[in-house]
Amino acid sequence: MIYSRKLKPDRDFTGLLPAFFSLLLGALIGVIYGPEEGIRVVGVIVFVYSIFGFIAYYRTRSVGYLLSGLYMISLSLVFLSVEVNEYSRRVFVYTPFSKLFIVLTFSLLIILLYMLFTKKIKWRGRDILELAAVNVNEGPDSYTDRPRPIANLELTRDEVENFAEFLKSNLIAMPYYEQERILFVPVRMGQEYFYLFNNNVKYWDKTWVAFDFDGKVSAHISKKDYLEYRKNLEFDPLCESLGKLFIEFFEDMRKDEASRIIDKLNEVKIGFFS
């Protein structure tokens, strides 16, 4: 199926800013204090980033974040173990220890690139918003900040919790657990840091789909996400479509056909970084 894009193009590059500023800082320190200091500073920064990678793994249980954390530790150890001889023709002298980490780093990098191209380390927020809008027509701006009840399902708490684990580990939506329900917030690429490293997310204001443990399903779309669409869409059908999309995912999960969820999301063909 060919999907026509209903979302505005993604020009967000906030995800690249930490890497850019780290390299800039390393380069500055290298120029001012010398190459050894510069490369060591970058090593320390990358090591700190690896901690965030492990926190992200702890929050999502996504293998991608675990490998990313290991990759950054390995890379930081390369930077910290390489010998620098600024007065020699070969400025960087690789010790056996650093060679070992170079091999490890490249191996992990290849795996991560594979995961990137197969969208296994991509947050699926945009894919979800596109899929939700597929059969929704343009209409007058009828946005309301209210959640919309979608359906009453026969379900158990265990099923909803398993669903949450699946969506979380596959970076489809970030679950927020409440006493009587779980809310699923679709996260777009570039916004994941806010959700991963912030314990006080006001998720009620975001776009979400909630599954009550007594079977009630409701959906809410934030104004910000609604404005991400190129044109005004009929709001009531859009909310209904978002809720039904998650119900469809939930049914796939129940039928033990979770791979279909990924297939549906891949069909939208959104870029790796969007």
Binding site: G139, P140, D141, S142, T144, D145, R146, P147, R148, P149, Q179, E180, R181, W204, A210, D212, K216, S218, E234, F235, D236, C239
Partner: protein
């Protein structure tokens, strides 16, 4: 027996006065009495007594007769009851239609309504609704705390541009029982007045 709400309200206001017991006692003892006679008997100001008697007359509890003394008219009041009974039918205060049945209204949320619904933390329903009245610096927020049936009803209110639904249909969707119909109609009327709910023409 007084059963009119306005008269009961008036009677409630005058019977709460400190001197009401003494004046009622005088009215009961005397066949008829003027304001000045009662005022001098109890050492009160004539205007206070006159206001009290007139209020009882308005409430339908006193008779008033105009008499002349050397061409100067004044009123004599007489009280012919042994007891005062009040009866208030609260149901009559509800502004339902004449048949007393649910009005056949088809409703939905109005587009661009200046409103904020606050979701209750424990369940998926609204705990309050805020509307803004006035314009510019004169704008004030009117916040209404909702009962649980009202909150569930509004949670299921159709979105702007969605299909209109009747009140019973929304109540069914929201799992609100018929015994709450009057409070639902009350909130629907309030929110219609404030431009939050749109009624199908």
């Amino acid at each position: 027996m007084i059963s009119d709400f306005e008269k009961i309200k008036l009677f409630g206001a005058i019977i709460s006065k400190e001197y009401s017991k003494d004046l009622l006692r005088l009215l009961y003892l005397y066949k008829d009495i003027s304001s000045s006679e009662a005022a001098s008997r109890l050492g009160m100001h004539i205007k206070t007594v006159q206001e009290f008697f007139d209020a009882l007359y308005e409430a339908g509890l006193l008779n008033k007769r105009e008499v002349y003394e050397s061409k100067r008219p004044y009123f004599r009041y007489s009280f012919n009851l042994n007891r005062i009974d009040l009866s208030l039918d609260v149901k009559e205060l509800i502004d339902l239609n004449k048949s007393g049945e649910t009005p056949e209204l088809f409703i939905r949320e109005k587009k661009n309504a200046n409103v904020r619904f606050t979701t209750a933390r424990s369940k998926l329903f609204f705990s309050s609704v805020s509307v803004w009245i006035g314009q510019g610096r004169e704008t004030i927020e009117k916040k209404v705390n909702l009962t649980i049936p009202q909150g569930r009803f509004l949670f299921n209110l159709p979105f702007p541009n969605a299909e209109f639904l009747s009140i019973p249909e929304i109540m069914k969707k929201a799992d609100v029982s018929d015994e709450h119909i009057s409070e639902i109609i009350d909130i629907v009327h309030l929110l219609t007045e404030h431009g939050v709910i749109e009624i199908k023409e």
